[in-house]
C-alpha cells in the first residue's frame, strides 16, 4: 500500500513482505524483508479499491516477477516494494462502481495486509467472487491456476477422447487440474512429478500413470518410461517445467501432437533460460504445434469457465488439491517450498478471515 497523504478515520496496521534483493540463482529467505507499521487510511482515486488480503496463492511465475524486467511480460517488483502475487481479498473501501464494500475478489495483489487495486488497469483480470465460495477455493479449485489449466488444455491442447496426455509438474496447482480435466475428456493421462508422495497421489487419488522424475535419470530414464507408457506417442503435452523435460517429451510426440507451453519452472529459479527442442525437424516431420499462452488472453471466457468448473465440482468429477498454510509471517518460507518440491497442489497461505 502506498503511504497515503490524507488520513481518513482509523489507521491500519499493515504488515508487509518486501523484495529486499533480486534473487540470483535459487530463491532464498534473505531475498525478503519483513516490515510492519501503522498507516493512515488512504484516499482513493476514482477506479481504485482498498482491500484486505485474506489468502495468498504462491505461484511459480511470481518468481519471474522478482527478476529484472527483461524476461517477464509485466513490470517487475521494485526493490523495497511488497512481493506481488495472486490473492483473494475483501473490499474495505471502494471508489469503483463494480466493487462494493465487503465483496470478495481475486486478482494480483501484494504481500501486505492492505492493498490498493485498480481493477480496470491490471494485466491479469480482477474477478469478483460469490460469497458462497470460500476464499481458499476462490484461489484453489476456482482460482487462476485452475483457469490456466482449463484454457491451456482445452483451447490449445484440444484433447480428444482416447488420446494420450502427458502433464509435467502434474501434482502442482496447474498440473493437478490438467490431469483431472484430461481424464474428464477421456484421455489416457500420464503425470510426471518429483518424488514418491506426489506420484502416489497421482496414481491412487487421480488413477493415472505416474513417472517419478526424481527416481530416474531425466533424459534416458524418462524416455524409456514414456516409450513403455505411451508406445503410440504423446498427443498432448501440457508442459509446466521446460528444459530437459520438454526436450525429452518432444521426442515422444505423436504425429499432429500439441505441446501446450504453460510454464518453464525449471528455469524460474535459475539465471539461465530454458531452451527449446533439440531437433526442430521433429516439428516438421510430426507436424507438431507448440504454443504459449497466458490467462489474460481468455478474460472474456472466465465467467463461463467458472460455471463449467463449478458444475464439474458439484458432480464430483473434479477434486480440490490444495496445500493450505496459515499465517502472514510464514509467506516466504511457504513460497520457497514451491521450488524445493515440498508441496503438492495449489499452495495457499491464509492470512485473515472474512469479516
Amino acid at each position: 500500500m502506498r503511504n497515503a497523504a490524507n488520513a481518513d478515520t482509523a489507521s491500519l496496521h499493515n504488515r508487509q513482505w518486501l523484495l529486499k534483493q533480486r534473487p540470483v540463482g535459487a530463491l532464498r529467505l534473505e531475498n525478503f524483508e519483513f516490515r510492519q507499521q501503522e498507516v493512515p487510511q488512504p484516499e482513493l482515486a476514482p477506479g481504485q479499491v482498498l482491500v484486505r488480503n485474506l489468502v495468498f496463492s504462491c505461484a511459480p511465475t511470481m518468481r519471474n516477477w522478482m527478476n529484472d524486467a527483461k524476461r517477464s511480460y509485466r513490470t517487475p517488483v521494485a526493490l523495497g516494494e511488497p512481493i506481488t502475487g495472486p490473492a483473494c481479498a475483501q473490499v474495505v473501501k471502494s471508489a469503483h462502481p463494480r466493487f462494493t464494500v465487503g465483496a470478495l475478489l481475486v486478482g494480483v495483489s501484494s504481500w501486505q495486509d492492505y492493498s490498493i487495486l485498480e481493477p480496470d488497469n491490471t494485466p491479469v483480470p480482477v474477478i469478483t467472487v460469490s460469497s458462497d465460495i470460500a476464499p481458499t477455493d476462490a484461489l484453489g479449485i476456482y482460482g487462476l491456476n485452475s483457469l490456466t489449466a482449463y484454457f491451456g488444455l482445452l483451447r490449445i491442447g484440444k484433447p480428444r477422447h482416447g488420446e494420450t496426455l502427458v502433464v509435467s509438474a502434474a501434482a502442482g496447482s496447474v498440473g493437478s487440474m490438467v490431469v483431472q480435466l484430461g481424464k474428464l475428456y477421456g484421455c489416457r493421462v500420464i503425470g510426471i512429478a518429483g518424488g514418491r508422495a506426489k506420484c502416489e497421489w497421482l496414481t491412487n487419488t487421480c488413477g493415472i500413470a505416474a513417472i517419478d522424475y526424481k527416481s530416474t535419470e531425466l533424459t534416458t530414464g524418462l524416455s524409456e518410461r514414456l516409450a513403455r507408457l505411451a508406445p503410440n506417442g504423446v498427443d498432448v503435452f501440457f508442459d509446466n517445467v521446460g528444459g530437459a523435460m520438454l526436450q525429452t517429451v518432444t521426442e515422444h510426440m505423436a504425429v499432429h501432437g500439441r505441446i501446450v507451453v504453460c510454464g518453464q519452472v525449471s528455469a524460474y529459479d535459475s539465471d539461465q533460460p530454458a531452451p527449446g527442442p533439440r531437433d526442430m525437424m521433429l516439428l516438421v516431420y510430426r507436424r507438431l504445434l507448440m504454443q504459449g499462452f497466458v490467462l489474460g488472453d481468455f478474460v472474456d471466457e472466465i465467467s463461463s469457465a467458472h460455471d463449467e468448473l463449478m458444475q464439474w465440482v458439484a458432480a464430483g468429477k473434479i477434486q480440490r488439491h490444495d496445500d493450505v498454510r496459515n499465517g502472514f509471517v510464514g509467506l516466504p518460507a511457504a513460497f520457497l517450498d514451491l521450488f524445493s518440491g515440498k508441496n503438492t497442489g495449489a499452495l495457499l497461505v491464509k492470512v485473515a478471515n472474512v469479516t
Copy 2:
C-alpha cells in the same frame, strides 16, 4: 526402375544417378554414382505406371532422404538405389485407371530416365497436370514448393493485412513464393537471404526489404537489422532455415506471433540437428505459436490451391522464380548448388522433352 523379368517389346535406355554412400556432413559429388544400361520394358502390377521423367526439382529436403532413417518421416534412399526427388514425368505405360499414356504428372520419382510409380501408395501425392502447363511450371510456379509455401503461410501463418512477415531463405523455391503471397495478403515483408544477388532480386523484383545474412554476423547483425526493420515485432515468421536464424528471429516476435516451421536447411547438410529457441518463456510471454507441417497434410486442398495460384499468375500478381538447368548428367552438381547458395528460386533440371 526395377529390373523387370518379363520383357515387353523394345528395351529402354535408362540412365541413373545412384546413392553411392550416405553423406556425412556436407554433401559431395562422391556421394553419387552414374550408371546407364539397356533394360527390358517392365510388366506393371495393377496400380503402377511407367513414366519417363522430364524435369527434376532439386529440393533441400531430398538431402534428408539420403540420411539413415532416424531423422526422416519417410523411408530413406537405399545405398545403390536411385536418388528420390520430385519430378514432372510423362506416362509411358499404365496399369492405373486415372493415369493414361501420354499424360503429365508430378510426384516423387527417382533420378533415372524411366521410373515405375504407384500413385495410390506414396506419402507425397501424385498429381495429374494439365497439358497446357509446361513441365517446368508444373514443378516451378505450380509445383510442390509453391504448394508448400501456400499451405504453410496461409493455413499456419495466417497473415493479416498490415502485419509484418519475415521469410528465411526468401529467394529460394519456397521462400520466393511465400514472399509474393505475403505481399498479396498486404503484409510488410522482410526477406532474409544469403548474398547480394539474392537480396537485390528481393528488393528490386519483389519490392521488399532484404537482409543479407552473409554480410552480417548471424546473431547480433541479424538482430540489429530486424530491430530496425520490424520495430513493432514480427507477426509471422516463415522459417526454412532453423538454427541460429530461428533463434534470433524468435526473439523479435510480436505478441501472438506465428512461426511456420517449414524446414531447417541449416541442419540438412550437417550431422547435427538444429535446436529450437534459446528461451521458451518467450513463447509464453508473447503467446507464440510454432507449428511444423508437410504438404501431405493438405492433399485434399491441392486442386483448389492450384486454381487460386493460376488465377494469381494470370493476373500478374505472382511471378515465376525458377533456375532451370539442362541435362541428366549434371543433376548432382546442380543439387549441390542448393547448399552452397549458388541458385535462386526453384532449381529445376530438364532431362527430356514431352513427346
